[in-house]
Subunit: 242 residues, 2 copies
């Protein structure tokens, strides 16, 4: 199964000036594609922090996505951070430079050219969306942080990532979580490949706990659900979603 | 200035089963208290991952807050993770055990006692809120992940953290970001203690860029704003918020 990490870059998110609108969209896309998002990091606009986070994530996950820090101002240091993560230089990409000169025209200034800089050897991923292409450095995709641009770029990522689709089943129980914990432990041990979650729900009148079971192998999910139903007192089970 | 990191623990957030409702509340509280939140990590329910993240954050930030993973089921491994981060054992806290036995009464089961386990030497932080107290291990505060319980516990943290309050000023400009980048660079160099952010805004008719300036020293923020106003073409400035 493909694994992924997201690195959300921006002091403005950490300080509460802007809400992070991008992560929910990304989580939903990864779930839809069956890509296992294993980590999200929100960090500030600091080159060394970005470099350390990208280096660590790029080595451990199949795909790394960064959001933010790719504009023309002093607080935009994602390109330098990603380059430093791989001990690469930064170079002006001639194709990006031509696009920026063409797009900005009379508003063009030398500072705009900072947006043509890429970690050496990066490729461009065009989106057919009228926007600048995504910069891709090895397994790292550099997304813009502005929500409107971020979401416009997601279809490009969707086309790149086509993983297996996970099967998710759920049980709604009126049991206390602590009462069913020993039963869950047994099923977890018997079905190590099925990811089993247990979530208490307050404020619901019908049920007290939701149990989720998921795996790329639908037959194993079904078998784990059957095993749980064998172990649970029948009167505790409110509903099963398969 | 006090620094902080948050570690949001839960496969259910990464897989999109539940939205993270806790982080926005925490961001707002930290901003209100003048505590600098420097990192948010969202990670899965895995003991080794939790231990590594807690160890790394506890060493670098004044305060670390975890959310989630403190219930009685197999996927709750925050206590073990925090203990492992500091190479501590796990022990039953007698005060917690007494509370849980009293609270659960006839519904009490041995599995509920898992919620009385703490990293060795932890202290309890009572909230006067009718809920179990927070577990505090060194500089790490273990919050429940269920949003209703998380938010009920925030006042306890508020009482513990009373930092300096930051001053935030803002400029609204009708300039292109790339045009003002060189001016910003000068002000950033002249006022290293003032944190300056530049955020392009699309879909606004009145302005194109919002510049934020912030520092615990309000006089330095004011001086940086004045310096920027000297450098910027007067016709570019739509509004100044002081």
């Amino acid at each position: 199964m493909t694994t992924a990490a997201a690195i959300i870059i921006g002091d403005e998110i950490l300080s509460g000036k802007f809400r992070d609108e991008n992560t929910p969209l990304l989580i939903d896309l990864m779930a839809e594609l069956g890509v296992e998002l294993q980590r999200i990091s929100v960090i500030g606009d600091d080159c060394a922090t970005i470099a350390a986070e990208v280096a660590s994530c790029a080595a451990r996950f199949d795909v790394v996505l960064t959001s933010g820090g790719i504009g023309p101002t002093h607080d935009d240091c994602t390109v330098r951070g990603v380059a430093a993560a791989f001990a690469l230089g930064v170079e002006v990409h001639p194709e990006l430079e031509a696009m920026i000169r063409g797009y900005w025209r009379d508003r063009f200034t030398p500072a705009a050219l900072r947006m043509a800089e890429v970690p050496a050897g990066s490729r461009l991923l065009a989106g057919g969306d009228g926007l600048l292409p995504l910069i891709v450095c090895r397994n790292v995709y550099l997304f813009p942080g502005v929500p409107r641009l971020f979401s416009a770029k997601l279809p490009s990522l969707r086309r790149e990532l086509k993983g297996a689709v996970k099967v998710l089943n759920g049980l709604y129980l009126r049991s206390d979580e602590s009462r069913i914990a020993p039963l869950l432990d047994r099923v977890v041990a018997e079905f190590p490949e099925v990811k089993i979650g247990s979530y208490p729900r307050f404020g619901e009148t019908e049920f007290r706990v939701w149990i989720s079971l998921e795996c790329v192998d639908g037959a194993r999910v079904a078998a784990a659900v059957e095993r749980l139903l064998e172990l649970l007192p029948a009167e505790d089970v409110v509903r099963v979603d398969r």
